[in-house]
């Protein structure tokens, strides 16, 4: 992949988490590591084998690369009273994503819809998306926070990949079952040693996925969920969540579908040069809804409600699907462990006296 000019981005251990970063060789992968996740908790744990991909996910997703946290949109320069917008010169990175999960691919599909297939097209996302390649990995070790099965996004990846690997590790062998998704994938595969998969191997691969499905314990009831949330604007459960939520915005940062950004215009001290930057933003910030000298959503309650209702309800009206892929990151990385699979059923309960 590197020979083809791609920068390989894959899972790697950094700051006590399995995150995504540049991979130079197999040794950079989290060999023999897994991550245990619970609401508000993420812990690395050593495995007894040397599996490369036996974990679910980490705080980063493809979003960090396709929809970067900070990017300069353009620079402008002043000269003799006028100013000019400079042409965008930076080349678009070519990423080869290794180890991508089904939920992340679903999230990428959702971001494709938002950023490329609606009224306008985001050229930053579109260029990086066009340039990237994906080697997916079929999940075999879901985390306790996963609920992709409820969202119809996993555990098996079915599309958007060039190659998909299922890792089979046992006492005797360490093998990868490879599915080819595209011509590029086939080309890549032809450059490494491989053999046609036997029936036995395919059976074991299916079994591994089956086990992953069994291993997913969290559920989210999605039937009627969009209407339920839109009809729950005044539900006391929002006050309950608000008493715990810190409005820290972690959830929006780790969520692979959250796309909100802000635009910052800066200039240097001399004023000769000004830049426009695009940076991630979060609906949890007070300033997000600022208008005419005040914010419309001043309470944490209103901001949590906006986030959840957008993600699980308005998203359907806007983009034709749920905004949630069931990856569970929002709960693992929430400092107080808010678990939306536990919050949502509360709205379906009969309200107490209001």
């Amino acid at each position: 992949m590197q020979r083809r000019g791609y920068q390989v981005i894959g899972p790697t251990i950094k700051d006590s988490a399995i995150t995504y970063g540049p991979i130079e060789g197999i040794e950079d992968l989290p060999i023999g590591w897994t991550a245990e996740q619970e609401p508000g908790s993420y812990r690395l744990r050593r495995r007894s084998d040397a599996a490369l991909f036996a974990f679910a996910n980490g705080p980063k997703s493809l979003k960090n690369f396709l929809h970067p946290a900070e990017i300069k949109l353009f620079g402008a320069e002043k000269s003799s009273g006028a100013f000019h917008i400079l042409p965008n010169g930076d080349p678009t990175p070519r990423y080869a994503f290794l180890g991508v999960r089904a939920c992340e691919l679903a999230a990428m599909g959702i971001q494709d819809r938002v950023l490329m297939e609606d009224r306008y097209r985001d050229p930053v996302y579109a260029a990086r998306r066009r340039n990237c390649m994906v080697i997916a990995v079929q999940c075999t070790e879901p985390a306790a926070t996963c609920f992709c099965t409820s969202m119809g996004t996993g555990p098996r990846a079915k599309y958007f990949f060039d190659l998909a690997l299922t890792e089979l590790v046992d006492a005797g062998a360490h093998e990868f079952v490879v599915e080819v998704g595209t011509d590029l994938g086939a080309e890549l595969l032809s450059e490494v040693q491989s053999a046609e998969a036997s029936e036995e191997i395919l059976r074991r691969s299916r079994e591994a996925t089956g086990q992953a499905e069994q291993g997913i314990t969290r559920r989210l009831e999605t039937d009627g969920l969009p209407e339920l949330l839109q009809n729950s604007f005044d539900h006391p459960q929002w006050d309950d969540v608000a008493s715990r939520c810190l409005a820290c915005g972690n959830c929006t940062m780790v969520c692979p579908t959250c796309f909100c950004v802000t635009v910052e215009d800066t200039s240097d001290v001399t004023g000769d040069h000004a830049d426009r930057w695009r940076k991630w933003d979060s609906c949890f910030t007070l300033g997000f809804s600022y208008i005419h000298g005040g914010s419309l959503r001043t309470s944490t309650k209103s901001r949590y409600r906006q986030w959840l209702t957008h993600k699980l309800s308005y998203w359907h009206d806007q983009f034709g699907s749920s905004g949630c892929v069931g990856c569970g990151r929002c709960m693992a990385w929430c400092p107080v462990g808010i678990d939306l699979t536990k919050e949502v059923p509360a709205f379906a309960q009969e309200r107490g006296a209001q």
Binding site: L73, F74, A76, K78, G81, A82, F83, H84, I85, N88, V114, L115, D118, R119, Y120, R121, D122, P123, Q230, F233, F259, C260, V261, T262, V263, E264, D265, T266, S267, G271, A274, R276, R278, D281, C283, F288, S289, Y290, I291, H292, G293, L296, R297, T298, S299, K301, S302, Q306, H310, S313, Y314, D317, Q318
Partner: protein, 284 residues
């Protein structure tokens, strides 16, 4: 729905340089700036109700309604109230200065659908600015429309926009212009009171009326109630909404109001769409 008519379709975040041709002061804090093409490019056309993102060098961008004549291809005119850093910078521009523009964006007033109907325009404060292109259009094609009623409310007489034009418009056939203020100076001889009190003075046939409103949300909410009491259908009532905007193209997420992006599903909405989200839901 209007397609983006900006020449650079490839990058909706990339602005175009425009030259400030004229600046005039409307009130204490509100100015109208007229922009012309710079760099030999021509300006895009716009539909009444649309807005542009205007950038003042080094300060930032803000969404500003286009308040000029859609029939004038050479200029894009904006009426801006100085309320923050960006609007202050924009209103401080002088003729010959450069700013940038992205757009026009957003949905437009139903000027075509209103043909043959009586048209009621209700404006509050700076809300008259995004309605002015509609007034120009209707007056230029006067016989295509029935009665025209313009109800305009502002805080005080000094804050009424386009006063000279209001007098001119009132002279058109079958055209009624009524203004009111919340606080009248002792010498004020016009109406005093909230703009909804003017409704009963409007000569309209509700069954063939279409209303377009722009102003503070509370004014629009009250006006809707008056219109409904006068049997004007929700589908015949249009509002222009306003929310925080950073991109104007549906990517930054800031302008969401319920399921709608005000920048691309609006800013003009039929009330039938907005009804659910305008019922005074606190902190929607």
């Amino acid at each position: 729905m209007t397609a983006l008519s900006h020449p650079d379709l490839l990058d909706p975040m990339r602005p175009v340089l425009v030259k400030v041709a004229d600046v005039s002061r409307e009130t204490q804090d509100t100015y109208t700036i007229a922009t012309e093409a710079a760099d030999g490019e021509s300006l895009p056309r716009f539909e009444p109700g649309q807005f542009s993102m205007l950038y003042s060098y080094g300060v930032g961008e803000a969404p500003i309604s286009i308040s000029g004549d859609a029939g004038d291809a050479g200029r894009l005119v904006y009426t801006i109230r100085s309320v923050g850093a960006v609007s202050k910078a924009l209103t401080s521009r002088q003729p010959g200065d450069f700013i940038t523009m992205r757009g026009p964006f957003g949905t437009s007033w139903p000027v075509q659908a209103a043909k043959g109907s009586d048209v009621l325009l209700v404006a509050g404060g700076i809300g008259l600015a995004p309605l002015r292109p509609t007034i120009y259009h209707i007056l230029r094609h006067r016989t295509d429309y029935g009665r025209l009623v313009i109800l305009y409310g502002a805080r005080s007489p000094k804050e009424l926009l386009f006063r000279k034009e209001l007098r001119v418009w009132a002279k058109f056939p079958d055209t009624q212009v009524l203004t009111t203020v919340d606080y009248g100076a002792p010498s004020w001889r016009g109406n005093v009171g909230v703009v909804t009190k003017l409704f009963r003075l409007a000569k309209l046939q509700p069954e063939r009326s279409l209303a377009m409103m722009c102003g503070p949300e509370i004014m629009m909410r009250l006006s809707v109630r008056e219109l409904q009491a006068r049997k004007i259908a929700d589908e015949q009532i249009y509002l222009s909404m306003e929310r925080n905007m950073k991109c104007a193209v549906g990517f930054c997420g800031h302008c969401q109001m319920g399921p709608y992006f005000v920048c691309k599903d609006g800013p003009v909405f039929p009330y039938s769409k907005m009804r659910r989200w305008m019922g005074g839901l606190r902190e929607l």
